[in-house]
């Protein structure tokens, strides 16, 4: 079968122009779908009256954005970081300290935290990206824990006590809204759109191809001229940048942070899981995964685990385990499979 297909030139070889046009059309379709989905998500908070559900929505959008950020390094570039809580914490603390102690606008704080986190990611990446696979993952865990320990013992940032945002009237200038959750839903959505767009653009650039090559096979990537180390550094910096913005937004949303509540290991896991669940290295995986995972965890925590019975953890852990083993390409791949099957039939 393969023998014949190798010798005979295929009769239906499409011309280069047709192929390029098809590709451009596919890209445009992705953009339209994106615009549609995000418009729907922007309207959604108005349709939900229940404050509890609005909270679930804000968290879902925020974790989708954070997971999309993680996805840039973990999903596209294949460097499984389990220490992104560090960048999240940097963003949360930078924004909070600048605002609470120095009256700096949280908008500037978000930017400062993002740049700081990206720089820290580069400093950490320099030694750690020489480590492969699991070694890298473990290094990220240890470094994030060390960061947590330092913040816990650093009086300047409030130590274990944390930082409380002052009570102010609702305002977009200070990102403070006492009861209204809709602005936070839009802020989280804004971050999600930003990360989605960055992914969309970068995936079809030199960097995107380089990342995926590095993920699949660094030795082959190198032989094809890909600067492996630089690719990883770039992915880490971009990923940390957006994770820190998410941290800053989260701080403004909960208006009180302490080391455990923004830097503990479970956040690192929470950033990775939606993408893993939905499909790593895909445009929509993080959002799909977050839309499944966050409501389930929030609701099961409320109804099953209110007394700390542990059933929510059993459920959650089981889900992660089963998806990882049964669907390593994520839930999204189920749809791809069925589309491929349809094409086959057609």
């Amino acid at each position: 079968m393969t023998g014949t297909s190798l010798i005979a030139a295929p009769a239906i070889s499409p011309s280069l122009d047709a192929a390029a046009r098809r590709f451009a059309a596919k890209r445009r379709r992705s953009l339209y779908v994106g615009a549609l989905v995000f418009a729907g998500l922007a309207a959604l908070p108005y349709a939900i009256r229940d404050v509890y559900l609005q909270n679930v929505l804000v968290l879902t959008l925020l974790y989708a954005a954070l997971s999309q950020s993680w996805n840039i390094l973990g999903g596209y570039c294949g460097q499984i970081s389990l220490g992104h809580a560090l960048y999240f914490g940097i963003g949360a603390y930078a924004t909070s300290i600048l605002f609470v102690n120095y009256g700096v606008s949280p908008w500037l704080g978000l930017g400062f935290g993002a740049v700081l986190a990206a720089s820290v990611a580069l400093v950490i990446g320099w030694p750690c990206f020489r480590l492969g696979g699991h070694y890298f993952s473990i290094a990220t865990i240890v470094i994030a824990e060390a960061g947590l320990l330092l913040v816990q013992n650093w009086d300047f940032v409030g130590g274990a006590m944390g930082v409380q945002w002052p009570f102010n009237p609702d305002s977009w200038a200070t990102l403070q809204f006492a009861r209204d959750k809709i602005p936070y839903a839009h802020l989280a959505l804004g971050l999600l759109v930003a990360t989605w767009l960055v992914t969309f653009v970068v995936a079809e650039s030199r960097w995107g191809y380089g990342w995926r090559a590095v993920k699949d096979d660094p030795v082959a990537a190198r032989s094809l001229g890909v600067e492996v180390f630089r690719s990883k550094m770039a992915a880490a910096a971009i990923s940390a940048f957006f994770t820190a913005i998410g941290g800053g937004l989260y701080a403004s949303y909960v208006s009180y942070i302490d080391p455990e509540s923004v830097m503990s290991f479970r956040f690192s896991l929470l950033f990775a899981l939606p993408a893993v669940l939905g499909g790593v290295g895909t445009l929509w995986g993080a959002l799909v995964g977050a839309a499944i995972l966050i409501p389930i965890t929030e609701i099961s925590r409320s109804y099953l685990g209110g007394t700390g019975s542990g059933i929510d953890l059993i459920f959650y852990g089981g889900l992660v385990m089963v998806v990882a083993i049964a669907r390593p390409e994520g839930v999204l791949s189920l749809f791809k499979r069925s589309r491929a099957a349809r094409n086959e039939e057609a």
Partner: protein, 292 residues
Amino acid sequence: MTMQALVQVLASGLLTGLIYGLVAVGLSLIFGLMDVVNFAHGEFLMLAMYLTFGLVVVSGLDPIVLMPLVAALMFVLGGTVYLGVVRFAMRAKANQGMVQIFATFGLAILLQGVAQYLFTPDYRSLQVSWLGGKTLDLGGVYLPWPQVFGALVSLAAFGGLYLLMTRTDFGRALEATREDQGAVALVGIDRNRIFALGWGLGAALVGLAGAVLTVFYYIHPGVGGAFALIAYVTVALGGFGSVFGALAAGLIVGLVEAATTLVLPPSLKSVGVYALYLLVVLVRPQGLFGRL
């Protein structure tokens, strides 16, 4: 500070270090065998502690007596986890490394949930051991007997491991697999059997550590996390896959941690260990006794 106080600190660091080595060695063994990091390693330890706790409550026996039983049950658990979970994770065609990480992480969360469901999140401790509260007086240096006992168990376990790896067919098969994955097929060993036994052995070793720890450490569903972190650092320091590297690194970690408490407040006792880890990553990424 007096000389005696220094010796006191170093001696207790040494004891802790031996126990850390025992906590970590199973992780290293499994990694060396099949290149898989068990991210549920800490939860294995937690489970062994609850197992000891439960058995003590049910039987009324001393945890020391129950230790072999705990190790045996953990052996079964480890083998089961390999056959029931890890074996399938290793078959993944796409994202292999990621699948292993999240399959074992999912398991870790699940085990925490099971512990919480069965035992509630409360902290518990066993006060029933014959060793509890006793101290050993070595010329003015006082060492708590539970830790001394734990250190002795660790030494015995490493001794046993040495004999196992050098004197038995299983040990040689294990060594062959560690050297070269392909060798297994050549020697005609059943890969799955060796891997299942390896997981059993790794779990039994951390089970011993868990049983020892119940005598002097509190038990709760999240206890695995802290020890898992130390185990990762220990294994990274000793060299992934190096069994006796884990022992040496455990000792170093215990000593560094003890030494840190001499200069920094107790809440920062891990700083020295983290710093040491970062130094190793920078200078010798393959660890002291490992190969990359």
